[in-house]
Symmetry: C2
Subunit: 238 residues, 2 copies
Amino acid sequence: MSDSEFDDAIAILGGTGDQGLGLALRFAKAGRPVVIGSRKLDRATAAEAEVKRAVPDGNVTGLDNADATRRAKIVILSVPFEHTAATVKSIRDALVPGQIVVSMGVPLASSVGGAAAHMVGIWQGSCAELVASLLPAEIGVVSAFQNVSAHRLRELDQPVECDVVVSGAKPEREVVMGLCEWVPGLRAVDGGPLGNARIVESITALLIGMNIRYRVSEGIGVRFTGLPTPTETKPTSR
Amino acid sequence: MSDSEFDDAIAILGGTGDQGLGLALRFAKAGRPVVIGSRKLDRATAAEAEVKRAVPDGNVTGLDNADATRRAKIVILSVPFEHTAATVKSIRDALVPGQIVVSMGVPLASSVGGAAAHMVGIWQGSCAELVASLLPAEIGVVSAFQNVSAHRLRELDQPVECDVVVSGAKPEREVVMGLCEWVPGLRAVDGGPLGNARIVESITALLIGMNIRYRVSEGIGVRFTGLPTPTETKPTSR
């Protein structure tokens, strides 16, 4: 594996789940090397085969979570919230400084037997801050992708039509904002410091309730209005 | 005052502030009777004069908060969060069963000397639930309008272009959703039970941070994608 392949690659842990597999399909279709991680190698290789069926020329590999982590600069955590801490602990020793861990988990109350439209409170404030609390400071943690519908990600011939609020420290945040441009219809919005993840994560619970009330199985998304177009203004360095 | 004028009228307590005055202008322009409430009568009458200058044929009256409350079926609370509890207590005896109190407050940390892009935790869960906890059960409390930009409300020749998530018990929630249709560019979205106000209120803090980062003084708004058009599906009775 060359350095440049490591830099280009995107590892998706929990890439066998609905939303993770959706991201894997989109990034593979866009030409990025994709590494799908799972606790169980056979599930990772099954997901690899599924992506290859949909994107025959995609560069995709299924590995266990720790091996997948060693293969990509950007490591997206797409595991159910209740498996987040255990997954982070299981890959901690595989991470090296400079890697970026992307948290897309949401502390839905369904993780403890409650409703998916409700949240549980997280001591650190959010799933993303919980992830950061378990990692050394040299590993950047960024929050993103929580509100992107799995259904829309998997309709490969349609744009996704959703804004992605990206929160975290500046350089890593900008890397993940750039990543959104690889998926048609996704727009990155600068979500500021990682602490804002507690708001962004809760929007998922609101959208889940709306999906139920309006019976929208494809998933309701969110767009922000009044944003300057990319060429007008770059976000300030706050 | 006739019963039908009471039913049509909208009282806006704190209608002298930026956002409250914006709503007063919009509802007056739409032909609804508007009653502006303030702790100080002279400020209420000054706001009345300001609305009349912009909307000469508007039906608008400035009164103190308790008198304004007696004049309208729908009472919108548009006071800074830190004045919410005191305002509710001051109008409690003026309310009668069947009235609807609309909470648009947000527990921003600026209410206790912190940043406007941060929140403080509310024991009851949200500003709207705090309001409900201070009122008898016969008064319906609905959460709405938190994320509507004051600047855009006051540009009377432009549509507002923002979704309003409306939360609360069913019959009152539907009344307030109907109210949104009186303002061009506002769209009501069924936000389910009042408890969801804790999410909707926090979106305001996220938008304030975005306004700063992107230097958008007019205010960034929010739209939900994938909602059925009104004729397609009514929200279910959840």
